[in-house]
């Protein structure tokens, strides 16, 4: 069975009641209870003032988790190619465009239009970090975290260099919310490097699997996992939070209807 291998050099997390990786790890390791609260999205201070005004919630989410993971890795953001994966676009922006198109005048703001591209967060990230290395933007609906992980790991295999993966999703406003009920924003970022890199937290081996995806025991976190596509990463984050010595060292992550991802983790 084919596998992709990479090590984790940095982790970023932002979600409901989860303010960063350390807070998330404490919750996932069972050291601290999870306190439900709306996801708090920081100002995108890395962006130039003009772009900062234009950046919506989804972009702020992606930039914030990316910065967390890169900071932890000790690498410079401009040295990392990036993989952005999201199950949808910026819901508020989409809503505003569709509302405008339903009026007789059909006046779309140019900023709304260029922010509507699926790679908006990727574009803002590269501008914020001055990074001219390749950046790709993916979507696989509910399988978007798995698709992003596969792409990022394949990039490490291809180049032997570290890459940044950012998986992120935010809630849609009504009336779209009724058709796509994502309850809140959740983002996860991983800096993935070649196996054996100094300072690595764990080595991942990822292959396709026919098994069912693992779940999270805590019902609130499990509801987060199933309702926000980027939170499909939670079982992996839980294993990382618990560290080595906790069997099993492998985890099955949700991906497509036809395949899941089996991730083997070596500390």
């Amino acid at each position: 069975m084919s596998e992709l291998v990479a090590c984790i050099e940095g982790v970023g997390v932002l979600g409901p009641g989860l303010s960063d990786w350390n807070a998330t790890a404490a919750v996932l390791a069972g050291e601290r209870p999870h306190v439900s609260a709306r996801t708090v999205l920081p100002e995108p201070t890395a962006l130039p003032a003009t772009e900062r005004r234009r950046a919506g919630r989804l972009i702020r989410l992606a930039l914030a988790v990316g910065a967390q993971a890169v900071g932890q890795s000790g690498r410079e953001a401009r040295t990392l190619p990036s993989v952005f994966s999201s199950s949808g676009g910026d819901g508020e922006n989409l809503h505003a465009i569709c509302e405008a198109l339903a009026t007789p005048e059909r006046l779309i703001s140019p900023t709304r239009f260029h922010n509507s591209v699926h790679n908006a967060a990727s574009g803002y990230w590269s501008i914020a970090q001055g990074c001219t290395l390749p950046s790709i933007a993916l979507c696989a609906f509910d399988a978007s975290f798995g698709a992003g992980l596969l792409e990022a790991m394949a990039q490490v295999a291809e180049t032997g260099e570290a890459v940044l993966l950012i998986a992120y999703d935010a809630d849609y406003p009504p009336p779209l919310y009724a058709k796509r009920p994502i309850p809140d924003a959740f983002g996860v970022a991983l800096v993935l490097g070649p196996a054996g890199a100094p300072g690595a937290r764990a080595t991942l081996r990822v292959g396709l699997s026919a098994d069912m995806a693992d779940t999270i025991a805590d019902p609130v976190l499990e509801a987060m996992r199933t309702s926000i596509p980027a939170a499909r990463a939670l079982p992996l984050l839980e294993r990382l939070a618990r560290g080595s010595g906790h069997a099993p060292a492998g985890v099955v992550l949700d991906y497509l209807d036809t395949a899941r991802l089996r991730v083997r983790i070596d500390a």
Partner: protein
Amino acid sequence: MKPVLLAAMTATSALGAGLAATLGALRERRSALAQCHFESARLDMQIGAVPDLDAVDLPAPLAAFACRNNRLAQLGLMQDGFADAVRNSAARHGADRVGVFLGTSTSGILETELAYRERDPDSGALPRRYDYAHRHNSFSVTDYVRRALGLTGPAVTISTACSSSAKAFPAAARMLAAGMIDAAVVGGVDSLCLTTLYGFHALQLTASGPCRPFDVRRDGLSIGEAAAFVLLERAPAGVAPEAILLQGIGESADAYHMSSPHPQGAGAREAMQRALDAAGIAPELVDYINLHGTGTPSNDSAEGHAITSLFGTGTRCSSTKAAMGHTLGAAGALEAVICALALRHGLLPGGLNTHEPDPRLALRYETVNHDLPLRRVLSNSFGFGGANCALLFGRA
């Protein structure tokens, strides 16, 4: 990089359905651009619409996916025996060993645009029949294609605006090289919608008449729609001499502006340089460059500067977008197929509508067709957000 084989391909655009119609139109130097009469949009611009898409039926089990974008995908899959070639490949390798990597910028957003006109006047709710997942979401087209072809391997939509389906090639090539799959359906499907027509109009990037790439009087792009697919496999040892190979890939980011290219085309140049490096060849060995060439003043200027700084002024170039319009997220795959046709048939397609190539952009812009043997051709794609991708194709 290790060359990858184009084992099968097809293209459908306003020029026609399938390779013969596409090649015929290029040979006849025919443009399919016409005044915009799409849906209720009455904008002063020309577009390249694929006729009669509403009449394309999806297989009954996949009826939930019915939208303009997936009908265009279905029409494309039916041409040139492409679906059969994929099924044969899946039979050889296993359906779980064939991946699907498709680019789209707007997928089925038209469904949502239309649904917003039918919102409940009291509650604001969308109509009950509206189905976001199957018809609008960016993954919808990839999900449709994998199901229509019976494939169960990795599947993902690449959505980097106008370079979406170009960047589907590196995504697939990486997965092939890593041994995760044995074959990949790569392509792009993007269809007309109000968001792009009114959006590009709002940005004042649409041409008043048909687009005139690299012309001194160019004034914008013309929007089109297309479905183009390629079946990629690892090139076997001793591949046939007439085989077409993907030999080099280069990607970069502008890190400059969301909707304007770097004025000197720094990111574009970097992408082309990386494609040459990946193939291990010097710029002089490229016989033809199929330009991104949208026809907007700033895009063509940036690309022109990038080309002359890397290739000088001697490499033959043209944009084929005046024939069927800028097909946005499908353009990378469509133009990859056009490059493969150019290699296979020894046809360098001259650009249409360009009467006076911009003298400030001193590249060798071809405005007539040339029959000449081509060995290596480069295809450029650049998108909003500064997402650049250059693909180098060659004969074995």
